[in-house]
Subunit: 454 residues, 2 copies
């Protein structure tokens, strides 16, 4: 049963399992104690720290283990901000950072836009560093669309501006070290096949850092609580193991992703593959299917045995599309993220490609999706469609159904209170070569107007 959601959580790497087993026997005691069980635990902890530091590319005393990647982000951002309190409170982030970074950065953060590929706008990022900026955050690669960020260039801009750069390397650390120049780095073990419960926080020597929260002597005062030693040992061992295989596995999975990127638009009409086609993670690809309800699509794929995730609004508890897709300005309906775990076979990918077209067309059929624009342009020059109370992808389907009824040059206005419409109606216009006139706020939702061009 192919699991294609490694970017959420990767299955445990065999090396992680073996190391965890061993460390359950040898590493359950308190490494701060001086008796033999404690000394043994301390040796395991020291060795794990050296292994992880080598993979990160830092000194062991620059690296601490945290309770998760989220904890690493929270503690890293809070500590860096407190260490730079005299400079200011301003945080610069890209618009497509992980939610843990955005939440820790706070509502007053300066959010730098991204290109349609998901890559941060470097000039805007550099400009944002001015003034009282205390910290800048940029992920190494995006978790939803796989686009690699220009970390080296951003680090150079940060160095010139005297601003520390925190790199969230959660998605990429298993594939290789982050480009030099970062001041703080965070990562999460269960993303590379390590166990849950372990994050990494590296803080370069010389970076001002003041740990926040109640005092605790563990992990240089930077990560409170009894260390989760068996999991730490497993995290370090699996990081070394995946790194040893990374180059070969990246080449192999990258070719499989290229196959998906090329074949999906050929096999499934009205799809948009998103994210940078070249500067990207090797194992991750995301596409959106017009006129498809993401939740139904995921559940149909699950029925066929494929586990994938989605940034569509209908699969989130907030009823808004993913902030990443929104920032990129791409279609959000029928969104599918495929992230291949280590060892995924070409056969599994081929089977996915064989199954996907039927699944998408069956979902579309059930939703009554129109075929073609239709030629009957005998209707009025302006039509209004009431899609209030209807969720993605219905407003776009309603639009597609009636666009053929207005003459070329005529307009269709869709009334919708679905947040996804704001993203998907303009995206539909782009895909269909129609003109998006704009949105006007209404008491309930907004009125989206489209001019028929073809």
């Amino acid at each position: 049963m192919p699991y294609f959601d490694a970017a959420s959580s990767a299955p445990l790497h065999p090396m992680a399992r073996a190391a965890l087993q061993a460390a359950l026997d040898e590493g359950w005691a308190d490494p701060a104690r001086l008796y033999r069980e404690g000394r043994r635990a301390r040796m395991l902890l020291d060795a794990a720290r050296e292994t992880a530091a080598e993979a990160v590319g830092c000194r062991p005393d620059e690296l601490v283990f945290t309770a998760s990647g989220t904890h690493a982000v929270h503690q890293g951002i809070a500590g860096a901000l407190a260490g730079r309190r005299r400079v200011g409170r301003r945080v610069v982030v890209s618009a497509v950072e992980h939610s843990s970074v955005l939440h820790a950065a706070g509502e007053d953060a300066a959010v730098v836009p991204v290109e349609r590929s998901g890559r941060v706008e470097l000039a805007a990022f550099t400009a944002a560093l001015a003034g009282d900026t205390a910290l800048a955050c940029l992920q190494s690669a995006n978790h939803e669309v796989g686009t690699e960020q220009p970390v080296a260039e951003a680090a150079e801009a940060c160095r010139a501006a005297g601003v520390p750069l925190l790199v969230d390397a959660a998605q990429s650390l298993g594939w290789g070290p982050v480009a030099d120049g970062w001041s703080l780095l965070t990562a999460s073990a269960h993303k590379w096949g390590g166990p849950a419960g372990v994050g990494l926080l590296a803080v370069r020597k010389g970076v001002r850092f003041a740990p926040q929260g109640p005092a605790d002597e563990r992990e240089s005062g930077r990560s409170p609580g009894f260390p989760n030693l068996p999991a730490i040992v497993a995290a370090a061992a699996s990081l070394r193991a995946v790194r040893a295989e990374a180059a070969a596995e990246a080449a192999r999975l990258s070719a499989l992703v290229d196959r998906i990127r090329a074949r999906v638009p050929e096999l499934v009409p009205d799809t948009e593959v998103v994210g940078d086609p070249v500067r990207r993670l090797p194992h991750l690809v995301t596409f959106s299917c017009l006129y498809v309800d993401g939740e139904t699509l995921l559940s149909e794929l699950d029925r066929e045995g494929f586990s994938v995730s989605s940034g569509s609004s209908c699969t989130s508890s907030t009823l808004t599309p993913s902030h990443v897709l929104r920032a990129m300005g791409v279609l959000s309906e029928g969104n599918v993220r495929v992230s291949l775990p280590y060892g995924t076979s070409a056969q599994e990918v081929d089977r996915f490609l064989a199954v996907l077209p039927g699944v998408v067309s069956s979902v579309r059929e059930r939703l009554g999706v129109p075929v073609g624009t239709g030629a009957d342009a005998a209707g009025p020059a302006a039509l209004v469609v009431d899609a209030l109370g209807k969720r993605c992808p219905i407003p776009v389907i309603e639009l597609a159904k009636v666009i053929g009824r207005v003459p070329v040059g005529g307009t269709v206005t869709v009334l919708s209170d679905d947040e996804a419409a704001r993203l998907d109606i303009p995206a539909w216009c782009g895909m269909r070569e129609q003109e998006y006139v704009g949105a006007e706020p209404r008491e309930r939702g907004a009125a989206y107007t489209v001019r028929r061009l073809v």
Copy 2:
């Protein structure tokens, strides 16, 4: 090789290991996802929550899993304080709470003294609840001396005062539920034989609680980060398992502890067994040995195969005796905490009792400890001993060496800059029936004066 430091961290219970194994296969995916691996993870998480809630004695929706006991304490105290911000910021704690509670409560906390047994002074605790108290914290039982706290009475006082009570049940939850009446409860899985990396935080319905730190949707917003599911499953399974054996095992270990409590003072001269002899944890006993260096004692016991811990100053990085022993006002030198893990045999305890006297006397011999007061009282009526720069137990040994040289009614003044002297010189006077006159601060350390009575 007997490991007698269960209160630091218990070896993994066989049930924890088995459950962890199973959950590594079944529970590595994200329980928030809707595909089969996610649904399976969610089922495991739900089942673990029900099991843990039953053991705690709360509703499943009142309980969240945290990354450690320390995280549970930090998040519990911060959330409770934020929820009661309008009432005030004052926190009431006993003087013998775990350091995580004291640090989270902050420097302005009202610290309630304890009796010599380590039991909180209930009248003082009740009185402290007045005014703008936002939260009170009382452990269920002390982690260093095993004394059970009057939680039911404290809860009643809190109820009357309208103050929520947070009970840190880290040391006792494996032995049984906490008495009713608490508002918040925290615990730590590796203390009961569960894995590291799992804490519990229970917040009763109706208790005002506002989670602090960056927003995160996990665990009802009360515990950020990807859930450490295999460890959570193992924690819950092992809690149920130890509870099933708790009554029988408590009776058995309690008898072994009684044996230690009775035999140590008989076998080893000049020892003080501390903590409440009756209202105590079943598996934990602490005693202090006069004229003994705690670090040497631990290392000699380790050489004999016994792993114990100590609250002596010389075994801590801060060079001060444990705050618990200080608050109780008991001897801190040569301090040994024995905490028996599940399954400890009578033979192991007997072997400990057979080994201890020789170890203590060899340490004392090396330190040149005087035997008896000596009868030569022909010296001056007042003697000053310079023990500056000398660490515990040397200042007390120097005192004992010269007390016989002053006549009855004469005084010895010890100059010492060792923090342990403040506790141990009065304790020595109590054990030797000499009069402790008092301490006067000096430029370096203090001058401690003792009057010879016998």
